[in-house]
Assembly symmetry: C2
Homo-oligomer: 616 residues x 2
Amino acid sequence: MSDSQYRVVFQPQGRAVSVLECTTILEAAAIAGLVIDTPCGGAGTCGKCRVQMPQGAPEPSDTDRKVFTKAELESGWRLACRSLVKVDAVVQVPTGSLFGGDQQIARDSSVGGPAEMRPAIRKVYVELSPPTLEDPRPDLLRLEEKTGPFKVDVAMLRHAPGRLRQQGYKGTAVLSDHQLIDIEEGDTTKRCLGVAVDVGTTTMVASLLNLCDGRELAVVARMNPQVSFGDDVLSRIEHSTSCPHCLDELRQTVAREIAGMIRALCDEAGIDARFIYEATFAGNTTMQHLLCGVDPSPLGAVPFAPAYARGVLLSARDLEIPINPHGTCYVFPIIGGFVGGDTVAGMLATGIDTSDGPTLLVDIGTNGEIVLAHEGKLLAASTAAGPAFEGARISCGMRGARGAMEKVLLDGDVHLGVIGNVAPMGICGSGLIDLAAEMLRVGIVSPEGRLRPREELPTGLSPALAGRVRTDNGGGVVFVLAEPGAGVSRKSLSITQRDIRKLQLGCGAIRAGISILMRQAGLAPKDLKTILIAGGFGGFIRRDKAQRIGLLPPEVDHQRIHYVGNASLAGARWALLSVEARKHGEELARRARHVELSVDGGFQAEFAEAMIFPGG
Amino acid sequence: MSDSQYRVVFQPQGRAVSVLECTTILEAAAIAGLVIDTPCGGAGTCGKCRVQMPQGAPEPSDTDRKVFTKAELESGWRLACRSLVKVDAVVQVPTGSLFGGDQQIARDSSVGGPAEMRPAIRKVYVELSPPTLEDPRPDLLRLEEKTGPFKVDVAMLRHAPGRLRQQGYKGTAVLSDHQLIDIEEGDTTKRCLGVAVDVGTTTMVASLLNLCDGRELAVVARMNPQVSFGDDVLSRIEHSTSCPHCLDELRQTVAREIAGMIRALCDEAGIDARFIYEATFAGNTTMQHLLCGVDPSPLGAVPFAPAYARGVLLSARDLEIPINPHGTCYVFPIIGGFVGGDTVAGMLATGIDTSDGPTLLVDIGTNGEIVLAHEGKLLAASTAAGPAFEGARISCGMRGARGAMEKVLLDGDVHLGVIGNVAPMGICGSGLIDLAAEMLRVGIVSPEGRLRPREELPTGLSPALAGRVRTDNGGGVVFVLAEPGAGVSRKSLSITQRDIRKLQLGCGAIRAGISILMRQAGLAPKDLKTILIAGGFGGFIRRDKAQRIGLLPPEVDHQRIHYVGNASLAGARWALLSVEARKHGEELARRARHVELSVDGGFQAEFAEAMIFPGG
């Protein structure tokens, strides 16, 4: 495993990611949220994952030479599963190589390019003839002739005519749906931006998009500062009711952080926030209630009924989101008390409703959301997995950012992949899954999840690994991943028994949810045509490792599992770029049936069983 | 002429008016805004103005006896033109007796009864099943199943679910179009009110309507307090630009007065203003700009282009109109710089676009608005008539309220009809027209408009009348209408030469406008099938008197002239009671062609000619 990191840009989607050396293009694409179709599971046998690399194409593999002609190889055609990143690269992804093929591209028009895009925000540059005695028509009527009919609120009614006159009846009209929201000087049609935000319980990610062509200009991820009021949604719901101003305090806390994220996005892209006219938000039901300042207390008690259901279009000013003051915020529709807008966004972005054969979408976060699509039906459930998968509340856990151990291999000693190619500062979700799977494989952890003390370790274990199993001050067994050193935290980075238990609880919650949805649909794991894994682990989730620890059903063929990245954020992007996608999301939210796991009599048993690692 | 006053209630419209004894039912209906069809001009020959009077029916006239059977007479059937009010009365007006017949009633569904009404405001009482684990659907989705889909703003999103829960999932949802604007405790569906406001330059009238059945619960008229910044629109436009806060000062001035009017309406009807969910406003272009706080300065200079054109739906809170805080305000569409929402409202309420034959609508106020409908075309113009017709800026002028001389007859001496049957306090528009016509007839005023000094009076003039022609302190000739006395103002009530000139200017402006519209349409006055006179004179305008002073073309047969009352207010009522009417108003505003009189080369000549009273 190498320590170097390279930038890979995917076209025509315009998405860029930084990956470790020797990451496959297939993995890099998944990290960028692009699911390249691999019926063979990336084994190099089906020849479907064709991409063209105008820059940074590696030496053709033997498989490449079988699949492509010499001319094709020379013009950079490669199989994504066989090509390793060794330098900065540009990758052209043909429509046919994406999972779902044309259909996905056609629906993910946002990403495909402006021809298919239809954002709610529209800018029109106009040059109007000034009124004369012969043609004294009203200012806004003159404007409407160029833009089509629109509505105005009182602020725009007072503002727009004067602006038009000051600007000599020239300027750029900004329309949100059929509402006039601004008039700008000069031709600013090219400066038309939106922000898509995934409001996670633990992590928030915001993406700045150019609404003219759908390109992503910047992304920023931050901790949801509401964690200071509790890790999980229930403790935040409790806090919201603990004092008269507590709900508003929670709302302000998240709004201020999002404001900071928007400033960071603007700084990175070098743009003015007044050119951002819309923000879309996808989060779980509680997060969306808190963002909107809606009392979430009914979500904290049986029967967990949310306040609202449909997507809502609110004023950015009302939500204190510092984009253009006349801008709007779209908050995703909700399925139920614990299946929120993030799930709807994920369903939208993965096109799960049109998938071929039984398909499972598992969004792994503090709340694990599970959707099963089968014969036109959509079942959705959520399960409290805890923040372990986001690297939170783990002894040395951290978000999937620079310094995070995102890959772990135990081979004689510990081998680490660290984001940003720096000294390790902590472990993120994907690293933790790797680590648990590896410790289980080499016997440091028992199938029941017990971190074995040194005297109980398997005899064949390497001395280096055995030496990392120690006892901490409190007498508990720990596994040391990294010793203190220059550039690293002053303490060693270790995993404790409690960390393993948290991971087990998370795995168990998700596996139990999957089992119950499958059972309610009358399906067995082997019936699944596809499993789509979504989440922000910080890296590409290793399917075999996830199956090894029982997070995913081991019965499902490895090649049917695909990582789709942050699907909630992807869905929020779609809603920003296409009003049709937004409508489709509304439809999905109403079509999905909310399965309340706690009502299912089998949940406790499934959960207890799923807690044990496979083989236990 | 008598001094007693009686109350006449018209059914099924529910409108009530107080009129002087011996007013005809035809006149009383016109004052109430109901145009009873009289092809014979009220001569008692056509027999079309049939009404039934369950209460207060006078002795049948000879004509009644010819037209009705004995049984009909016994059940109160009378001709409206032959029946004089001598006691309080209730009058049933059959659809067929109204001008425009079925068509008008069908369109004026508001007035006709709830079967035809469709206000933008809708109230629905709901009893929802509370959420359970088996059915945990979101609160607002449960509500939507009873009300149909709606949108919410952030305030309602925060407010409505909690209210629903507090009220045990029962209550009354209030919807404005497809927006949820309130949730009330209990069944309040019967308490659903709206306010229609005519925002005149000089006089404002507000009408409180029950949106369930269209009945008017109260009416109030007040002076527009902006008169303190100038009588006419131009001086107010000037004031609005004279300091940075002057525009807002003008807006607040009118908003505060309307707030006072709404409080008065609520007091009179004994209701709470929170049950008023919508207000509609019709005024001239400048008044509407000022009401909305939109800079009117372009209306003060060539080419007089307004800021906006379409009707706008604004938040009552934004406009500081104290109805339900989530309520809305509809401000009428505008035709041009000086042809505003009041004209559109008048066109709407009179159904002028569907009239049979060339029809002229003349709205007589500080701004005179004139609309000509001919062969499907609508021409609209406005002309600055000054406030004389509203009784303002006349030596002893006043609004058509209690104490106003609204009828004047010179027959040996002065005979007055005074509103409210009290001692006279001033003269209103209709009284002034009467007075001028009478002074012209008896020769106190010359056809050129000169108030003759006593020595030049005609020899046959009665000594009593001659004795009223005096010289004031400044040496000017005056005509004394009422001497000082108990209960009257301490000064005598007189008409001066300047008052006559003001009336001449007003008549001239309106007649010139009529002439130019007629000429542009290629019509002569005799071609007119109908003239509809609108305005708030305080009383029923006497058609012969209006023709005598040249306000209306003398060539038009007397019977083709109808008084339609405050058509602007009537249109505002329609918009409140029917979204279809509102849409039709929008269409009328866009269909009408704005004729800018000052651009017409013939205006000055027409104006100069029209200034002279006919016969001069």
